[in-house]
Symmetry: C2
Subunit: 226 residues, 2 copies
């Protein structure tokens, strides 16, 4: 049976954090320029607080922002913020420079590929479709669909079931130590952490508990391990 490689999406296949931050800053700047009566720094700090409270998938951040600042919602400013956020986000949405090459490489090696992602199904599919990456993956498993988020073992078990494979015959690739790698470990699946900064504590934990977790600096280095 061909081996299966499971991928996380955000900050693993593409640079979600950077584009979301740029999009939010652009939106806030235009809202301030168009009458939101606080400074850019105040408004951006407030927005980050709102996102922290409501979560990044909440769809009314700008509504709450105008209400907090003005005492009531301002539809024009909300619309301006939303449009700017989406326009900038879509303008910046790109895979990491080596993502597609690596996916082609893995397919050429005979691996089957799938996604395990914490997030909303349509939103995650939208990213893959916009980047024309969706054809690489046989299954997209999201926490919204399964009802459990990584690192919960149920989402990994569902993924193994859907791909009809065993944990030892598969591997998880992600950028988050707990979510992706410890999550995979929960079902005895090996994993690869993509990230420059692994703390000494985590490195020690991998060693002490003999966890099957390898660490690489960027997605391009996957071709050395797979």
């Amino acid at each position: 049976m061909e081996k299966v490689v499971f991928f996380d999406i955000d900050d693993t296949l593409l640079d979600t954090s950077t584009f979301a931050e740029s999009a939010r800053k652009s939106a806030i700047q235009l809202m301030v320029d168009n009458g939101l009566p606080i400074s850019f720094d105040e408004a951006y700090t407030l927005l980050k607080e709102i996102i922290g409270q409501k979560g990044s998938n909440y769809d009314k951040h700008f509504d709450v922002l105008t209400k907090k600042v003005l005492g009531k919602e301002d539809p024009m400013l909300i619309a301006l913020g939303m449009i700017t956020y989406h326009n900038v986000k879509f303008a910046l949405l790109r895979p990491f420079s080596k993502t597609t090459e690596i996916l082609i490489y893995l397919k050429s090696k005979g691996y089957r590929l799938a996604v395990i992602s914490n997030g909303l199904t349509i939103k995650q599919c939208e990213k893959l479709v916009r980047l024309n990456l969706h054809n690489f993956f046989d299954e997209i498993i999201t926490s919204e669909e399964v009802g459990f988020e990584k690192p919960n073992k149920y989402i990994f078990e569902e993924a193994l079931k859907r791909m009809n494979c065993t944990a030892e015959n598969s591997i998880m690739i992600g950028n988050k130590f707990e979510t992706d790698c410890i999550g995979a470990t929960n079902v005895k699946m090996p994993s690869i952490l993509i990230g420059r900064k692994i703390t000494p504590e985590k490195a020690q934990r991998i060693k002490d508990e003999k966890l099957d977790i390898k660490v690489i600096e960027n997605i391009e280095q996957l071709n050395k391990l797979l």
Copy 2:
């Protein structure tokens, strides 16, 4: 040595004709709605004439259109036409539904891939980059760069040289009988024509001249031949 598959771009990997037509119609409709003093049908017919005369890569079709209708150029209407054309074009730009799957399949079979396209280099690269297809191809050979258009044999010879392969070890895939297939035949390269309608005359010619040209209905069927 791995075999090489050369692809045409427009109407082979993606549906250029349909999206260009929709984009032009949308542009003309908005120009008429905003004061161009002729009917939609008249304006669209005139635009098609201008494109026929100037070629599709000419970048001042709307300038000529307003000058012909109004006696002088109208910058606002030209800008409206251009913006609408580009917005609709980018909104509609997609590969054929099976294109990416087939490219993944060919890479998984070990083929090397390249493009041979009649067109402007940046414009053709832009389509591939927007669709995130560029990583599949080792070389993009354009007529602008080589100085000769398909079916001229020099563009095919340059392509073989750049990919360091022989004609018998490669194959051309395209949607135009003369341009892509007879062009390939000029350097003794086999080819596959993608298209539902091959005329009886062409079918007869393939038979009579024993040309190494196969015909399939859509790009998905490539997996039966390669």
